[in-house]
């Protein structure tokens, strides 16, 4: 009976034929996606379409589900990072940029987790410590922030680990420094969203892959962003930082509805 099936589907109860398929996709992507299957009758498809429209809307109204963004201002404590000028260490710029980005994200309805908030409170924070914090946070995006005094423009990086299919990973043990591998595809998507947004803000931006310990152990869509100098501004320039931060925050707002914006179980050491 097609209409009975439709009724069940509307309630979110899968029926044996096409419902299973829809429910399966809902589980994988976070929101139900409609796929036409031969067995699905017209009323069933209609019901699934209504469910597809209604379910995410209902979900967005739950306040407990404010999406989390993890911001890691790279360096800090005794690790001062690069020397941008004679007196300006990288750690001071990254923390300033992280704090700026944090406020922009909060006003856009995100929950922000920072690995540290001042250059000095990172004194006892190890690289692995940051990753553990990130992997426990349940973030839909993890951003590691750097600044540089030599390479011009904004640089976006994704882990150079070969992409592995999460489904093939199964229950195999995951190496600590390769935990990002099943996430690389999603990280690449996030990187290209960020690149497009920063480019739209009239800032030169590159998008490459690299080997960074801070990225390779993360179990979330993860990207490193490095602020380099521009012709008319250095990385610590507030206007430049604000422009890039707004572009990043805008891109994350878009990312929030993206099927790849999923959180992981969290690998902790």
């Amino acid at each position: 009976m097609p209409w009975t099936r439709a009724f069940f589907l509307l309630l979110g109860i899968p029926t044996e034929e096409c419902g299973v398929f829809i429910a399966e996709n809902a589980h994988r992507w976070g929101s139900p996606t409609l796929h036409r299957q031969k067995k699905c009758s017209k009323p069933a498809l209609f019901a699934a379409a209504v469910a597809a429209v209604l379910l995410p809307a209902a979900r967005a109204q739950t306040p407990a589900q404010a999406p989390i963004i993890l911001l890691d201002a790279a360096h800090g404590g005794p690790d001062t990072g690069a020397r941008l000028t004679e007196k300006l260490p990288e750690r001071d710029v990254t923390i300033a940029f992280a704090n700026r980005l944090q406020s922009l994200l909060i006003v856009r309805g995100f929950k922000v987790v920072l690995t540290h908030t001042t250059p000095d409170d990172a004194a006892n924070l190890t690289g692995d410590g940051r990753v553990e914090l990130a992997n426990r946070s349940g973030a839909i995006a993890c951003l590691t922030l750097h600044a540089s005094g030599n390479a011009a423009g904004v640089h976006i990086f994704t882990s150079a680990l070969p992409e592995t299919e999460p489904a093939l990973q199964g229950s195999k043990p995951v190496l600590w420094n390769e935990a990002q591998a099943p996430w690389v595809t999603r990280s690449l998507r996030l990187a290209s969203e960020l690149q497009a947004a920063i480019s739209r803000s009239h800032t030169p931006v590159t998008n490459h892959r690299t080997w960074l310990a801070a990225l390779d152990s993360l179990t979330c869509p993860a990207v490193a962003i490095e602020l380099g100098p521009l012709d008319d501004a250095t990385a610590q320039d507030p206007t430049y930082q604000q422009r890039v931060a707004e572009a990043v925050a805008g891109a994350l707002l878009f990312w929030r509805g993206h099927p790849n914006a999923v959180t992981g179980a969290g690998a902790v050491r």
Binding site: A151, A152, G153, S199, H208, E226
Partner: protein
């Protein structure tokens, strides 16, 4: 009175001693000149067997900071045939180009960038037990030019590049700049040594976590084409 024959013998021996002293002095002088000429010679590496003075085309993958690219560029240079000396010469040339002040990817360092390079046959396996080793007398050691190609056909090699600490310490710090340096080296090895499938870095014989605070230098990298097209999106 001394007998006449004794006086003659004494004079003969005396003359012989003087002649021998003169000869020794000459040999001594000649040796000194020869040793001086060797140490003054301007060849830092011992001229290898089969060294050729003919130049050949070598592909370098050159990094460009401003564009954020790595592009192949062919140069004509004279190279020895022995693989390790050859790889070292190519990389020294790459780094000496980056050492120029007008380089698009400028790196400042004193002296040479590379301590040494060597190849390890893959896969890396523990040494055979003594009885097994006795049967097989042909052990894998430093590859000779012909052995190199034979072995590579089967497993490939890992190239180990031992950088000098003075080079790594002087390298500018930043994700982009460090990434471009390493990708340029990986790509240059890939372009000229198809036998190499893996690449590792050491710094003064030890592993180093990062090149200059960012790029993880302690991993094993696949040898691949690292050409980077300009992805720079400029308004």
């Amino acid at each position: 009175m001394i007998p006449r024959y004794q006086r003659i013998l004494f004079l003969a021996l005396m003359t012989l001693s003087v002649l021998m002293a003169g000869y020794l002095w000459r040999v001594h002088q000649r040796t000194i000149t020869r040793l001086n000429s060797i140490s003054n010679a301007a060849t830092p590496i011992e001229a290898p067997n089969g060294a050729t003075t003919q130049t050949e085309a070598v592909t370098f993958l050159m990094a460009d900071d401003a564009a954020g690219t790595i592009t192949p560029s062919d140069r004509q240079i004279a190279l020895p045939t022995e693989p390790t000396i050859r790889l070292r010469a190519i990389l020294e040339r790459l780094f000496s180009d980056y050492g120029q002040t007008d380089s698009p990817h400028p790196l400042k360092f004193d002296g040479t960038a590379i301590a040494d390079v060597f190849f390890l046959p893959l896969p890396l396996t523990p040494p055979k037990p003594p009885e097994a080793a006795g049967k097989n007398t042909e052990e894998k050691t430093t590859p000779s030019p012909t052995a190199f190609t034979d072995m590579a056909a089967r497993n490939g090699y890992m190239a180990v590049i031992n950088l000098r600490q003075s080079f790594a310490d002087a390298h500018p710090s930043g994700v982009e700049v460090e990434t471009l340096t390493v990708l340029s080296v990986l790509g240059t090895v890939h372009a000229n040594f198809p036998q190499v499938s893996r690449i590792r870095f050491l710094v003064d014989g030890k592993t180093r976590p990062t090149l200059a605070g960012h790029f993880s230098l302690d991993r094993v990298y696949p040898s691949s084409d690292t050409t980077l097209q300009s992805t720079k999106e400029t308004p």
